[in-house]
């Protein structure tokens, strides 16, 4: 059962990712991205990382992408106009460069991957474990990230509001 589900949702994730780039209309791209996030959440769930799966859905699909869709709807962005004449330079170099990038990426991932393999449902990442790790091992990165996000919010407020 698990491998079948894995292949279904892995395929959905890849198809949605391709559709994200190919689609001309921004709202269709945004919805494809939601599809990618949803299938990633299910892949996390298959591994047994239920808290991360739920957080993926709540934070990315439920909050960030809603804001994306909201802004696209608010600006009423229409279909993207493709340039009249695609440059021959991009055509010539695009495909070889992409293949090279994929090769390097797969090599690096292969090298960095730990020895042995992980079975479905073996990873125990409940809310308790994630919380404990965040507040002990990764306390400093966690706090620094929150400060960074705070700075980003302040910057957005300053940029958006000319007179405070």
């Amino acid at each position: 059962m698990d491998p079948i589900l894995f292949f279904i949702f892995a395929a959905v994730a890849v198809i949605c990712a391709i559709s994200l780039i190919v689609q001309k209309h921004p709202i269709k791209s945004a919805l494809s991205l939601i599809g990618v996030m949803g299938s990633l959440a299910i892949l996390y769930l298959l591994l047994g990382a239920e808290f991360i799966a739920a957080a993926q859905l709540i934070v990315y699909a439920g909050a960030i992408m809603v804001l994306f869709v909201f802004v696209i709807m608010l600006l009423n962005a229409g279909e993207e106009k493709s340039p009249a004449r695609p440059s021959w330079f991009a055509k010539l170099l695009g495909i070889p460069l992409m293949i090279a990038l994929l090769g390097i990426l797969s090599y690096v991932i292969q090298r960095a991957a730990p020895e042995g393999s992980l079975a479905f449902g073996e990873y125990t990442g409940g809310a308790r474990e994630v919380g404990r790790a965040l507040f002990t091992t990764y306390l400093l990165p966690f706090e620094i990230t929150s400060v960074l996000i705070l700075i980003a919010i302040l910057g957005a407020v300053v940029l958006a509001k000319k007179e405070l």
Binding site: G62, V66, V69, F70
Partner: protein, 397 residues
């Protein structure tokens, strides 16, 4: 028993009950609003309009299914499906009662218990924005678009205080599984005061409950926060261009969301299926007494009818109520029916609160709505969460 067969039976039961409740919630809402406004409400189809939901369903199914020419067809059709599917999915993690034994089969009165039940409900309620936002956008109509925009802005804003209000009782219960949350509220202080989250030491969660209910009204787009469908400004908001069953799908989604969020409030704050006072003080006899009294009242008014037709309808109701009263007194059925009774009556009271508020309060203005969420509700819920955390930490040492 076979896991699949058992699950299938449970899903069928829950779906049937949920669909009936959805249909009759509409009837209850129309009746209650009518009586608040000194009207009679639906009264033509069946006795006291009891068959009105059936008539509505037939009307909605047979109505012409119109697809306007200027809509984005794919997303226009996807939006109501998304809305209703997400709304109906969330019922699957709600526990209605404890473990029961039916004909020798041990099972929980719940479709599935997840370790992250609360988070699943939050995730689904976060995703349900898309149904409304897409409906507004795909309709290609300025009123619908404005409704969709308002809905997404409102739901993002109110999700924050809602999630923070959920977080503070979780600090007390120390679990994310809905069944364990209910079990953590078992027992009584001084032998009579229930250990529900709204009474539980060291920090009674009564304020979190109020914050949660305010957020719940906004999440379900109900008055006083029903700006997305404000009819005097936006025609009908995001569902302006929808007709027939697609229109009904949005209504089903709204009512299903209402039921889920009331059930969640019951589980988190009101002790789920645990009775408000212990069995030793006679909480087991309450349903029998209530239904027996209802039967007596119906019988009395049936014998002294105010209208000619009451002579036939009210005795029938009296017999039905009397049958319920007897069912609650039978010891075998007792263990199944009593938890269900307490769960349903708490959830039902909260649903009545939704309808009551709709009959009482006017609608907010849009800027008031946003200021209320960000300048009042959000800081208050943050402070409340910190206070709860501090007290729980001090208490556990």
């Amino acid at each position: 028993m076979n896991f699949f067969l058992l699950s299938l039976i449970k899903v069928g039961l829950v779906a049937a009950v949920l669909m009936t409740t959805l249909a009759y919630l509409q009837w209850v809402e129309r009746k209650v609003i009518a009586h608040i406004q000194l009207r009679v409400g639906p009264s033509r189809v069946g006795p006291h309009g009891l068959l009105q939901p059936l008539a509505d369903v037939i009307k909605l199914i047979t109505k012409e299914d119109l697809i306007p020419a200027h809509v984005n067809k794919f997303f226009y059709l996807m939006a109501p499906i998304l809305a209703v599917a997400l709304a109906l999915t969330s019922i699957s993690v709600i526990p209605f009662g404890p473990q029961i034994n039916v004909f020798g089969v041990e099972t929980y009165m719940q479709l599935t218990d997840l370790n992250i039940g609360v988070l699943v409900l939050l995730a689904i309620s976060g995703l349900s924005v898309y149904g409304i936002a897409l409906a507004g956008w795909a309709s290609n109509n300025k009123y619908a678009l404005l409704g969709g925009l308002r809905a997404s802005a409102q739901m993002i804003s109110y999700e924050l205080p809602l999630a923070l209000a959920i977080a503070s009782p979780l600090l007390l219960h120390n679990s994310l599984s809905l069944r364990e949350i209910v079990n953590a509220q078992d027992g009584y202080y001084f032998g009579f005061l229930a250990r529900w989250a709204i009474f539980q030491m060291p920090m009674p969660q009564i304020f979190a409950f109020i914050l949660f209910m305010i957020g719940a009204f906004a999440e379900t787009n109900r008055i006083p926060f029903d700006l997305p469908e404000a009819e005097n400004e936006l025609v009908a908001g995001f569902h302006t261009e929808y007709s027939s069953m697609k229109f009904a799908a949005f209504f089903m989604a709204e009512y299903a969301n209402m039921i889920t969020i009331c059930a969640l409030a019951t589980i988190l704050f009101l002790g789920g299926w645990h009775p408000p006072f212990p069995v030793e003080l006679g909480s087991g006899y309450v349903p029998s007494a209530i239904f027996g009294m209802a039967a007596a009242i119906a019988l009395f008014h049936g014998l002294n009818p105010a209208r000619p037709k009451d002579r036939f309808t009210l005795p029938v109701f009296a017999i039905a109520f009397f049958g319920l009263a007897i069912a609650f007194a039978i010891p075998v059925l007792n263990s199944i029916l009593l938890p269900l009774f307490w769960f349903a009556s708490k959830t039902g009271f909260l649903l009545f609160l939704f309808i009551w508020v709709r009959g009482t309060l006017p609608r907010f203005r849009y800027d008031q709505l946003m200021r209320f969420a960000w300048a009042w509700l959000f800081p208050v819920s943050v402070v409340h969460l910190f206070a709860t955390g501090l007290l729980v930490a001090l208490y556990s040492n």
